[in-house]
Amino acid sequence: MNITPKQYASAWYELLSDKKIIRLSCGQASKVNKKMLAYLYKTGHLSKLAEILRNLEEIEQRQLGVEHALITSAHEISENQAKKLAKEILKTDEVSVRHKINPELIGGIQIETKNKRWDLSIKSQLLSLSKQLT
């Protein structure tokens, strides 16, 4: 039978989220992971790993109802500030935020989720201004 990456991912997630295991120590969870990887290697499906992990991430996000956001800013901002900005834009409380610094933006921030992007950077505003002037 041909098992799709999605099926692998949901099986994996089920194993990890099993109440018993969650209560178990971190070592136990890594045991599950090891076994899963060994199985993938044995069946020759290791090449699907990237896609399986992508699916796993998606399932977790869906289950927990948390939105992942990447905030890119030109200068250092505090984590609280980043979280506050993300909450405001995404209009949800359940946000997990990663933060990156990219001086190319000149100023302002950029918020990215999986499917959407809000560009509040000086760079993009300058670009659209130049477009309007020409």
Binding site: E112, N115, R117, W118, Q125, Q132
Partner: protein
Amino acid sequence: MDSIIEQLKKEISGFKAEIQEEKIGTVIHIADGIASATGLADVASMEMVKFDDGAIGVALNLEEGKVGIMVLGEYKGISEGMKVKALGRILDVPVGDEMIGRVIDPLGQPKDGKDLKTEKNYPMERIAPGVITRKSVHEPVQTGLKSIDAMIPIGRGQRELIIGDRQTGKTAVAIDTILNQKGQNMTCIYVAIGQKESKIAQIVARLEKAGAMEYTIIVSASASESAALNFLAPYAGCAMGEYFMDQGKDALIIYDDLSKHAVAYRQISLLLKRPPGREAYPGDVFYLHSRLLERAAKLNEDNGKGSLTALPIIETQGNDVSAYIPTNVISITDGQIYLESNLFNKGFRPAINVGLSVSRVGGAAQIKAMKKVAGSLRLDLAQFRELEAFTQFGSDLDEATQKQLERGKRLEKLLIQPQYSPMPVAQQVVQIYSATNGLMDDVDVDYISNFAKGLSEYVDQNNPELLKLIDKKGEFDEKWEHGLKKAVDDYKSIVDKEWFVEKKTEKSD
């Protein structure tokens, strides 16, 4: 100076930065001009996307969790993890009268480095005009080639396939047709798909020399360009043609050639991991061509009377018309012009096999005069071919057979026409009428071309009313026939005696 700065200040102060929500995805794989991306949740099929490095793509494969994107043009700057933004519009191409006389790429950008400003955009893929909006083909497209205009007539709105091996003069037929559209109220679009740049340059130079670029657009996707552009070129050209059709004008589009188009599409399909079928072409390769050629149409009075005539070209391998793509396109089109390499090598150029070539709808578009003379031409040639095969076994022939054979040989010679010399239809009628009515029977076979050419010039100079009548009425009467017979006799009296069979034999006696 002040005012410029003031103006600038005003514009800048008027600028408002808006927070825009962009739909994005992330590239997870890029190879051979095909990218896949996750995200892009609401993207539509054939929607344009823009990569963060500025490259443009088209979403083709919408799968669960990822999207297959065909990158248009250069893809070297795209890397894994790069963001890709949905532009929210279906792939389109600029159209307009401004494009006439230009060489452009399939995305509508000029290739000659000069500016091009257009106002309208048309979608590349469009549903063909429906039954209610159409009218059956009834106006002719004069190709200027005797054998085509007489026996395989093409009408405005028709789709006529030009098929043959490499080096049989397929492009030559198409180019001659463009050359002959001067003053015929026709906008021509030549779509080069996977051609050598040198060949395209040659064609442009030839069209420019003949003044044909004044009504021609060249859409060029050369062999060095990506498969994506090769795949889109015919649709882009078709959209430009549809613009003229919608204006109530007539347009002629040449797809040179659809075999390479199918190959480009096969490459894209295989890279998108669509399952291969016969000859590794994808399952929708028939639809690929049928949806394109269906867009050729003749519209009725209520819809502006415009037309789009399509001349697709297919290159066969070893004269095999029963391969996959040739049979597909033959079944889609309204007839085919079949070019043969052995005819070409024998010196019959254009190397059209008039026995195997057909035009299923063009007959209704032929002018009456041509219809009258072409009927006997076709019959005489068919009988000649039958007799020719038969007489290879014996030499004793009765006089009638002998006569028919001689007539046939002359007709075959008459249909030979050098490249880049299309002939007005009235001249064609004069020549074919003379040949089929025995007025050229006493001319030596070797001198038929010279005689016919001379006759045309003679009639043009001394009896222009004969040509004018055909041009004006499209028909001839008994008076015209008398006039022509007299003109031929007059002409015969002034030409070289060497050209005639009997007079030569008299001389040798």
